[in-house]
Symmetry: C2
C-alpha cells in the first residue's frame, strides 16, 4: 500500500480493512491498559481511538467484547530443531498460543548440513504464519573434537548477514576463544558488527565478563542465579530468561526483574521438546508462569514482546501503536493470558488454540539425506586391555558428567556391558562423511537392564549415539536408525519403538502431536527397560557434547574435557 | 586498536590507558549506583570493577574520591545556530557542562545556504570535543511564502542519509503536508526510511496524530501539556521535553514522567540564546531543574543520555558499560549534578567548567556571504490607500500573533509609524537573491518610542527584518546590517549597538561570552528605546515565520496565515 493511502486510513478519511472494537489495549510503553478500538490496514496498525466516537470505519469490524489486546509474543532465542518437528509444525504449535515472531539459531541443522541447512530453514520458514528471524550460528562445529557435517567460517557468517531474515550472530559459545583473542572467533564477531550479538557464557564473571561484553556481546541466556544475571545487566547486557526443557531458570531469575530494570530482560525457550511445547506452550507459558510467580502482567507482556523487538532492532513490532505490524493477541484474563484470537499482519491466523488454514506451496524444499555409515563398521567389541575402566558417570538432570573408574566385566577377552552393575556400553558413530569411525566407552547412570537406545540427536555434531546392555542390541538399534534415515529408537529383543527424524536426523515430517506421542512411547519403553532417568534420550544427546566437562564420548573415543585430550578406556 | 588487544585490556591482562578509581558509577540500566573503578582504552570503556581488588592497572590512574560518574549528556534536538555562535564556541559552552553529544537540525543555515550550509556545519563540527550528529532538515523552506536562500528536495535529503554523521530526518514541521499526502513531504519521509524521523506537531491529536505516527514519525518536542505528551507516548512516539529560550515546557510535562514510562522521554533544548546557555547551561541545566522539581536524579540522568542514545540508535554510548565510548561526566552532588571533569572518548576535555585546549586545524571552512540587497531598494514609504490599517499585534512570549485593525497616521499622503500609539512600521527585505523585494506592514506591541531594530535572524528564511519608529532609522539599521554582513542592530539617532553575525547572518565568529555581552547591550538599548518586551529581537525574529498564525510579514507583504494568502495593508 502506498504511504499516502495508509495515512488517509489512519486519519479515518478512508475505511480500514479491519477494525477491532471494544478492546482493552495493552500499552507496553506506559504499562497501562486503554479501552478503545484498533484500525488495521496493509497488515499494520493504522491507529487506535476511543470507541463510541466511531472514529474509524472498516470493511470488517470485530467486537472484542472487552477482551485484552497485546502485541504478538516474541521468543528471543530458540533452536526450532529441539522441538523435533518441521518449521510448519512448530508454527502450528506456537502461533495459536500467541507467538508471532521467533529468533532462531539453527545451529543443530547447521552442524549437520552447514549453509545448506540454514538456507533450508530460511526457505521452509517463509510460508508459515510466523516471522522467523535467524541468528547466524557462531560455533559450528562447537569444538575441535566435534566431527560435524560442516564448518561455518567467519566468511560464511558475513555472507549470511546480507539475508534480510538474518539479524545478527547467535550465541557465541566459544567464550574461551573470545577471551583468548582467537582470530577466527573475533572475525566472526566482526562479521556481525553493529548487529545484535548473542552470548552464551555460563559462570563467566569479573573482568572476563567485562571482556566478553566489551567484545560486543549484548546478551546472555545462561544465567542461572540472580547474581549472575545482575552482573550481566550491570554490564549493559540483556538477560534472556530461559525456560528450556533441560534448563529452567525463570523461577530463580524472576525476583531480579523490577519496574526499574525490566527493559533489560526478555523471555526465551532455547530448547523445548514436543511434549513440553504441547503441555506448557512457548513464551506464552513463561508469561503465565511469571505472573503466577508475582510479576506485574504488563511487565511480563513487555518482556515477552517489546523488549525482544527492541533488542533485535525489529522496530516494526512489539507495540500496539500506529505503524507497527498488526501482530496481535486477543485474550480474556490478564492474570493468565491465553490467546482466543491471534492476528498476524492483520490477518486472523489462529482462533481458540487452533491454527487456521493458510496458503503454502505444494512443493516444499528438500534436503539431502545426511547419514553415511558403512554397516560393516558397526562393531562394538572392546578387547580387554586391563581390568579397570574409565567410565562416564551421569549426574541426573545435568549435562556435565563425572569421570569415574569401575571394574570391567571380561568375557572371552573382551570388556562387555555389565547391566547388573549399571555399567553400559556407549558408542559414537560418525555419520556425516562415511569414515566408519566408531568411538567406544562405558557409561554409568542409565540403569538399562537390557536392550539399547540410539539417536541421531547428539549434540552438537549430531552423529549417531547409542547406549546398550549388549552389542547385538546396539547394532540393531543403529540399523533401525539407518533404515529410518535418522531418529530415536529403543530396541529390546524384537520389540522396537521408534521416532523417525528424516529431516537431517533432527526433525520429523509428522504432526507435532504424533511426534509427542512417539516420544512418550519411547520414554515409556526406556523406563520399562530399566532406565531411572526422566528423559534418557535427552541425557544421551548431551554425552557427545565435547565442550562440557568432564568425560564425553567422541567418534575417536573417550575425551577428557578437563584436559581437552583423548584418554584411554582402560586405567593403568 | 585491534579488538584482540582491547579484549586483553578488558580482562585486566594488559594495562588500560586510564583508570578512574574510587567512583560512584551511575548504572542507568538498573537505576542504581555502584562503587568501583572504570578502565578505559581506545576511547572506550574496557570494564568496571570493584576497587581494592585492584583488578585493573593503567598508565594513568585518577582517584575520583567518591565522585559520581555518569555517561556524557546528549541534547536530542538543538538548532546550534540559535546560540548565535560558531560550533566551536557552542562546544566551549556545553562540553564543560557535560554535554558530549548533540543531535542538531541545521535548518537555520540550510534556509540560507542549503546543502552548502549543512556541509559547513558537518565540517566545522569535526574537530571539536563534541559529537555532533545531524538530522537532515525536512522543511526548507518552511512554506510557500518563505523566500529562503535554498530549497532542499527529497533527493537532497536522500543523499545526506549516506553521511556517517547524519542519523535521520529532522522535525517534520509540515504535518499538514504529511496528513494531506503531499508527495514531496512523503518522499522526504521515505528518503529516511528505517531511521529516526523527528516530529513537530503542536496541538495535533486524535486520528490525525495517529496518521502522523503511522507515517513513521517517532518523536515530538512540541507537547506543552501533559495530555498532549501522554497522547504521544501512547502512540509509541518519544516525547522530547523541551526547555528552549522561547518555549519552556519542562515544568508542565515533568509530572508525567514515572519509572514506568521514563524510557519514552528525553531532554532537548531546541533553541537557546547565548545568555540562556551561559546562565542555565544546556541539558545539564534541565537535569538539575528536573531534580529540583522532584524527579529521581537517576531517571533525570537516564532521560539526558541513555534514552536519547537508544532513540537515535547511537548504540555506542549512553551507559558506563564495557565497550561503550568513554564519554563520561564526573560530579559531586547527585541532587544537582555539575561536572567537575568531562571525558570524551577517554580524554579529559574539560575541568571545573573550562574547556581544555584541543587540536584544531588552523584553517577553518569558509562560507559565501549571503547578503545581496540593492541599497536602492531600501524604501519604506507606504502611500496612504485608506485610513484604517491591518496590523500585526504581538502576544508577549508567544510566536503566534493577532491580526487587528488600527487607525493610520497619515503624513504627506503616506501612512507612517505612530509610536505614540505603539504603532510601528515593519519591513521584510529579501536578502538571498538580490531581488530587491521589500514587504511592508505595521506592528503593535513593541513599544519602541524612537529608532529601529533590525536582524538577519528572521525565521525561517532569515531575510532581513526591521521594525522602527521612522523610515530613516529603519534604513540606517538595515545599512548597518549590510555593512557588518549580517547580525542584530539597534539604531537610535547616532547611537548604534550591534551584534555582527557574519556566518550566514546567523552566527558570530566571536567567543560566546562576547556574543552574550553584545546581546545584553542590545537588549538594554532596546529597552531604553521603550520596548516593553523581554526580548524584542526574539519576538521580531518570529514575525516573519509564515506558517504560524495569524498575521505575518513576508517580502511580498502581509500574509494572513489563517487563510494562507497575502492580504492588503489597508482595510476597506
Amino acid at each position: 500500500m502506498e504511504l499516502a493511502q495508509f495515512i488517509q486510513i489512519a486519519r479515518g478519511a478512508q475505511p480500514a480493512e479491519l477494525l477491532l472494537t471494544n478492546a482493552q489495549i495493552v500499552d507496553l510503553y506506559n504499562l497501562d491498559v486503554v479501552r478503545g478500538q484498533i484500525a488495521i490496514a496493509d497488515g499494520r496498525i493504522a491507529g487506535t481511538a476511543p470507541d463510541g466516537a466511531s472514529s474509524y470505519r472498516a470493511t470488517e469490524v470485530v467486537d472484542l467484547q472487552g477482551q485484552y489486546v497485546t502485541p504478538g509474543l516474541i521468543d528471543g532465542h530458540v533452536h526450532i530443531e529441539s522441538s523435533m518437528v518441521s518449521v510448519p509444525e512448530f508454527s502450528r504449535a506456537v502461533v495459536p498460543r500467541g507467538v508471532t515472531t521467533v529468533i532462531t539459531d539453527p545451529h543443530e541443522i547447521a552442524n549437520v548440513l552447514g549453509m545448506t541447512g540454514i538456507r533450508y530453514m530460511l526457505e521452509v520458514a517463509k510460508w508459515n504464519p510466523l516471522s522467523v528471524f535467524v541468528m547466524a550460528p557462531s560455533c559450528v562445529p562447537a569444538g575441535p573434537y566435534e566431527s560435524a557435517g560442516a564448518r561455518l567460517s567467519a566468511y560464511d557468517l558475513e555472507s549470511l548477514m546480507h539475508d534480510k531474515w538474518v539479524v545478527g550472530l547467535a550465541e557465541m559459545m566459544d567464550y574461551p576463544g573470545v577471551l583468548a583473542g582467537n582470530p577466527e572467533a573475533l572475525a566472526k564477531i566482526e562479521a556481525a558488527v553493529n548487529r545484535p550479538l548473542d552470548g552464551h557464557a555460563p559462570g563467566l564473571k569479573g573482568t572476563d565478563l567485562n571482556a566478553y561484553a566489551a567484545a560486543g556481546i549484548g546478551s546472555d541466556h545462561e544465567s542461572t542465579t540472580r547474581d549472575e544475571a545482575l552482573d550481566r545487566i550491570r554490564r549493559g547486557m540483556i538477560v534472556m530468561i530461559r525456560e528450556a526443557t533441560p534448563a529452567r531458570n525463570l523461577r530463580d531469575l524472576l525476583p531480579l526483574v523490577t519496574v526499574k530494570n525490566a527493559r533489560r530482560f526478555m523471555f526465551v525457550t532455547d530448547d523445548r521438546n514436543p511434549i513440553h511445547l504441547l503441555d506448557d506452550g512457548s513464551v506464552d507459558g513463561m508469561v503465565r508462569q511469571a505472573i503466577a510467580l508475582g510479576l506485574d502482567p504488563l511487565l511480563a507482556l513487555q518482556l515477552a514482546s517489546l523488549n525482544a523487538a527492541e533488542y533485535f532492532r525489529l522496530f516494526d513490532r512489539g507495540a500496539v501503536t500506529p505503524g507497527k505490524r498488526a501482530d496481535l493477541i486477543v485474550f480474556k484474563d490478564l492474570s493468565a493470558p491465553r490467546a482466543t484470537h491471534v492476528y498476524r499482519g492483520g490477518r486472523l491466523v489462529a482462533r481458540n488454540g487452533e491454527l487456521l488454514p493458510y496458503h503454502r506451496p505444494a512443493e516444499s524444499p528438500t534436503l539431502p539425506v545426511s547419514l553415511s555409515v558403512p554397516r560393516a563398521s558397526l562393531r562394538f567389541a572392546v578387547a580387554a586391555q586391563g581390568r579397570r575402566l574409565r567410565v562416564i558417570e551421569i549426574i541426573p538432570n545435568q549435562i556435565i558428567t563425572k569421570s569415574v573408574v569401575a571394574d570391567a566385566r571380561i568375557q572371552d577377552g573382551h570388556a562387555v556391558a555389565d547391566p547388573g552393575h549399571d555399567l553400559l556400553k556407549i558408542a559414537l558413530i560418525e555419520r556425516h562423511t562415511g569414515s566408519g569411525r566408531v568411538g567406544l566407552g562405558f557409561v554409568r547412570g542409565f540403569g538399562l537392564r537390557f536392550g539399547a537406545l540410539a539417536s541421531t540427536v547428539a549434540h552438537d555434531a549430531h552423529n549417531i549415539i547409542v547406549v546398550g546392555a549388549d552389542d547385538e542390541s546396539m547394532r540393531s538399534a543403529v540399523e533401525v536408525i539407518l533404515d529410518m534415515k535418522g531418529g530415536l529408537v529403543a530396541v529390546a529383543g524384537r520389540e522396537v519403538v521408534k521416532l523417525p527424524l528424516p529431516i537431517a536426523g533432527l526433525m520429523s515430517d509428522q504432526p507435532i502431536t504424533t511426534v509427542a506421542e512417539q516420544l512418550r512411547a519411547l520414554l515409556q519403553m526406556a523406563h520399562r527397560m530399566g532406565s531411572t532417568l526422566e528423559d534418557p534420550f535427552m541425557t544421551l544427546s548431551f554425552l557427545s557434547l565435547s565442550v562440557i566437562p568432564a568425560l564425553k564420548i567422541t567418534d575417536r573415543g573417550l575425551l577428557d574435557v578437563t584436559k581437552f585430550e583423548l584418554t584411554p578406556l582402560f586405567v593403568d
